[in-house]
Amino acid sequence: MAGQSADLLQGTLDVLILKALAAGQLHGLGVSRRIEQITGGTFVVRPGSLFPALHRLEEAGWLSSAWDASESNRRAKFYTLTRTGRRQLGEEKARWNRIAGAMARALEA
């Protein structure tokens, strides 16, 4: 799980994937590109980390997958956020906000 300069904190990748999928279904490459886009290029997720994470989240029941046609009309496996996944995203968000707030306060103090 490589970032360009920023190391991904434990659990960061999971929450980023969940967030990327919040807007709708995406295939693997789509998830990767979306994360790049929403983090302003700070995080680049390599396939070696992406696919294990996708499978892990699917096994945890937060994602579901289905084969569909891609924008270039190729068959690809698309991932969708499940209901429990959405709830998980909410929890993760709250947690990150708490941590981010605490970190910001800590560093400013």
Binding site: L29, R46, G48, P52, A60, A76, K77
Partner: protein
């Protein structure tokens, strides 16, 4: 967790579908990235390559995804096992030898453990809820191991007062020889004397009829109850249920058969009774020399019961009723006042608690020996695995290059080893069964039926499994770690060879194997020599050339006086037989394991009655006893026919007895009298008031039972003290002929006597030490030979490996014109160096073991140089053969094809 579980199931169940799905997903991903790159302006081929680089290896990505999958561990384990099985099948020679070595190692260790488990760690078979059964053990501190026996009052006190026990039982350790009157004559049987509570407390059910209940105490109408063992019922009565309720005559007394015990129950000790009779104060069997056991109440710990029993034991009154050992007591048994005893409650097992240390020590010795074989087997497997790991360097390198982690490779290799060990262990368990029955059959012919029940139970299975697993880890770890360290690049390059480091480890294994095996062979050889010598061991008498036959005349209705007449006539006729040099008779066989004593004796002129009496071992003998057995008469005379019932009571004592009773004085001409019982004013002395006049002193017998070795022997003339049990002893030049003469003679004198089986005294007198020695010898020698075979395989393996590593070099040398002989010599020299180093270490080890054995109770083991030389030569020959074959194979090959093969 539910989705995860269903995933787990899906992943395991539909593996191929899951895998295909992953393949397609990654393929689609590649296509998408390629499309992207093409759109960015790359040509399709470059775009594809760039996409592959992005992915960082399809296989490695797949492997990483597999890791996060539910059930990955199980899946990979199955995968490893399947792969391992395939690898093992591909190299059957290796797999077979390795599994066989392990089977032998595990089998031998498990066999010993099985025996230990059966004798020491579990209660007798056939009882219910054995874990709560306990032995109640009196012991005396400061004494050498021996069995302290309890009396009936002890049993009663514990039975009536113990609150921690749900029930208490007692039984006589020694079986009572009885004679069952049958339609065809008399049948000798062995009876176990047990308390009436015995079967109830043990929870043994009846096969038919009923077993003892406390009410059987009432000996109504003069018949007592008897319970048959299932085995005896089947053998004697053909499992006829109608015998229950019938009355049988046992040694002349009427007994009613009340039932048959359940199949599979053989009593609580290693002895195997044919039937059980009640032991009670009113019973015909003496109620002494008892072992006590009980069943803990639920929730009571052994220590709680122990404390209570100790308190009860302390309060028991001193029991000086007999003041002597009961007749026919167990060797080394002691009857001491209960309050000086320590009473403890121990877990129940067929071997009496105080002897467990002794038996356990012996088994530990055997275990030590067979463990060495297991170590050799492990070294062998380790060595072969190392060689194979070398051969698989490329395979492993390829797998690593494809993205397999190091841990994964180590695990794969370990799985292979574990699989090997599971196969070996299972075979070993089967082998253990065989070895165990062999061990049990090595036990000597005891004078009574023995049942050694050594079941292969869960304990044994767990032991063998754990052993296999540990052995697998030990011998598999080093090679696996070694192999996984493989440097990918150099291994993939064709000429990359770094065999030296690995070879050093293999060489060490071979040296260790040779050393351990040769040490075992030497030890076995030394023990064989010791056994050989032990059969000619000085027991104080010469058993070789003596034929013996024992008869119980009471069976034919003889009384003591009739027995005396019969015996003198028999001897008269026996001495008249041609070829019989000298013949005599006694009440029992000399050198038997049993010591018989009839009470304390002291010198008639000892002033103080408190002086310690001697409790000698009694022998009732006819004249010529000492001549027949070649026991030197040191002073005085032998008994003569003139020592009769009507003449003065005489006796002959051993040197030690003489010294003990009359220190510093001559015993001949002195009188021995019975030690009076405390409190009684007068003592009835046999045949007049003067006691026994000592007429002679003979040399001591030597006792080799490891328990009591003081040679306090006391001989009285048979005609003055006749018994109905008679043992004839005849020395002659032709044993076989004498045996048939004796048989015919006894038959001709009274056809109504039970059949006698004359045999050599040599075969009869085999004590427990000899038995242990024989077992130890058999085990050590056979494991030594097994070790030899394993070592040969090891030497062969390492030589073959060295040769295969040097194939190119050998080819070049041959092509350059080197003599084949030179090359064979070179290979041999290398192999034999290892054998030589191993042999030297092994011989030194053997010498050390010999020294240790010499200091042990087994006695002086001769450090026979012939044994060492023979072992060294044996290993040199085997080593040469094991090196020669691979060497010859190497030079047989055509040099051109050798070089081309590279």
């Amino acid at each position: 967790m539910k989705p995860r579980l269903s995933r787990f199931w899906r992943n395991l169940r539909h593996r191929t579908r899951v895998e295909r799905d992953l393949d397609e997903e990654l393929g689609a991903f590649l296509d998408l990235v390629t499309d992207e790159k093409i759109r960015a302006g790359l040509n399709p081929a470059d775009a594809r390559r760039a996409a592959l680089l992005d992915l960082g290896g399809v296989e490695s990505a797949k492997e990483q995804v597999r890791h996060v999958r539910a059930g990955w561990f199980v899946e990979s384990l199955v995968q490893d096992l399947v792969y391992a099985a395939r690898v093992l099948r591909r190299t059957p020679f290796f797999s077979l030898t390795a599994a066989l070595s392990l089977a032998i190692g595990v089998g031998a260790t498990t066999a010993i453990f099985t025996v230990a488990n059966g004798l020491l760690l579990r209660a007798a078979v056939g009882v219910s809820d054995p874990d709560r059964l306990v032995d109640i053990v009196p012991s005396q501190t400061g004494l050498r191991p021996g069995i302290v026996l309890a009396s009936y009052p002890h049993y009663e006190a514990i039975r009536d007062r113990a609150t921690t026990l749900a029930g208490t039982y007692a039984y006589r350790l020694e079986l009572t020889p009885l004679f069952l009157k049958t339609a065809g004559g008399v049948e000798p049987v062995f009876g176990g004397a047990v308390s009436l509570s015995y079967f109830q407390v043990l929870g043994v059910p009846a096969a038919t009829g009923r077993l003892f209940v406390p009410a059987d105490d009432d000996v109504a109408g003069g018949t007592s109850a008897v319970v048959l063992s299932h085995l005896f019922w089947t053998r004697q009565f053909h499992a006829d249920p109608d015998v229950v309720g019938t009355t049988v005559l046992l040694s002349g007394r009427a007994f009613t058969i009340i039932g048959v015990s359940a199949e599979g129950f053989h009593g609580t000790s290693v002895t195997k009774p044919d039937l059980w009779i009640p032991v009670a104060p009113a019973s015909p069997v003496s109620a002494t020399a008892l072992m006590i056991g009980g069943r803990l109440k639920p929730g009571i710990a052994r220590s709680q019961a122990s404390a209570e029993i100790q308190a009860i034991g302390h309060s028991l009154p001193a029991d000086r009723r007999s003041g002597a050992l009961p007749p026919g007591a167990v060797p080394g048994s002691r009857d001491a006042s209960p309050s000086s005893l320590r009473w403890t409650v121990e877990s129940s097992s067929p071997i009496p608690f105080t002897l467990r240390l002794l038996v356990g020590g012996f088994l530990a010795l055997l275990m030590g020996v067979v463990s060495v074989v297991l170590v050799i087997a492990c070294a062998n497997v380790s060595g072969v695995l190392l060689a194979r790991a070398a051969a698989r360097r490329r395979e492993i390198a390829v797998r690593r290059a494809l993205g397999a982690g190091r841990r994964r490779i180590v695990r794969q290799l370990l799985t292979e080893t574990v699989l090997l060990f599971i196969i070996g262990g299972a075979a070993g368990l089967a082998l253990a069964r065989l070895i165990t029955s062999l061990l049990v059959s090595l036990l000597p012919a005891f004078p009574m039926p023995i049942h050694v029940s050594v079941p292969l139970d869960a304990n044994v299975a767990a032991f063998s499994l754990a052993l296999s697993f540990v052995a697998a880890l030990l011998s598999g770890l080093a090679p696996a770690r070694h192999a996984s360290k493989t440097d990918v690049l150099s291994a993939l390059k064709d000429d990359a060879r770094r065999p030296h480091e690995r070879l050093r480890l293999r060489h060490a294994f071979v040296v260790a194997q040779v050393a351990f095996s040769i040490a075992l062979v030497v030890t076995g050889g030394l023990l064989v020599r010791t056994v050989g010598r032990a059969s000619h061991v000085d027991r104080g008498f010469e058993s070789a050339g003596v034929v013996t036959a024992s008869i119980d005349l009471s069976l034919a209705g003889y009384d003591a006086a009739a027995s005396a007449r019969f015996t003198s006539t028999l001897l008269e006729r026996l001495r008249a037989i041609r070829g019989v040099d000298v013949a005599t008779a006694a009440n029992r066989s000399p050198g038997g394991p049993t010591r018989v004593t009839r009470g304390g004796l002291r010198a008639s002129d000892t002033a103080s009655l408190d002086a310690l009496p001697v409790l000698p071992n009694w022998h009732v003998v006819e004249p010529d006893y000492f001549k027949t057995l070649r026991i030197p008469v040191l002073q005085g005379r032998d008994f003569t026919p003139a020592d009769r019932e009507s003449t003065e009571s005489v006796a002959i004592v051993s040197e030690t007895t003489a010294r003990r009773v009359w220190p510093g004085r001559s015993a001949v001409g002195q009188y021995l009298v019975w030690q009076p019982q405390p409190g009684s004013a007068t003592v009835a002395q046999p045949s007049g008031s003067r006691g026994f006049l000592v007429v002679g002193i003979v040399r001591d017998l030597k006792y080799r039972t490891s328990i009591d070795t003081t040679p306090l022997d006391f001989y009285v003339p048979f005609q003055q003290n006749p018994t109905t049990s008679v043992t004839i002893l005849a020395r002659s030049a032709d044993d076989a002929q004498t045996i048939s003469h004796v048989r015919a003679l006894i038959r001709s004198m009274d056809p109504g006597l039970p059949r006698v089986t004359p045999q050599l005294l040599d075969t009869e007198t085999s004590g427990p030490v000899e038995t242990q020695l024989r077992i130890a010898t058999a085990v050590t020698a056979s494991v030594g030979l097994v070790g030899l075979v394993l070592a040969a395989i090891g030497i062969y393996g390492v030589t073959a490996y060295v040769v295969s590593q040097r194939t190119r070099e050998i080819g070049i040398r041959l092509a350059m014109g080197a003599h084949r002989g030179t090359i064979v010599g070179m290979v041999l020299r290398q192999g034999m160096t290892l054998v030589g180093i191993g042999s030297i270490i092994g011989l030194a080890l053997g010498l050390g073991v010999g020294r240790v054995l010499a200091a042990s109770p087994i006695g002086a083991v001769p450090l026979d140089p012939a044994v060492f030389a023979a072992a060294a030569i044996l290993f040199a020959i085997v080593g040469l053969a094991a090196c020669y074959y691979p060497a010859r194979r190497a030079v047989r090959v055509d040099p051109i094809s050798l070089l081309r093969a590279e």
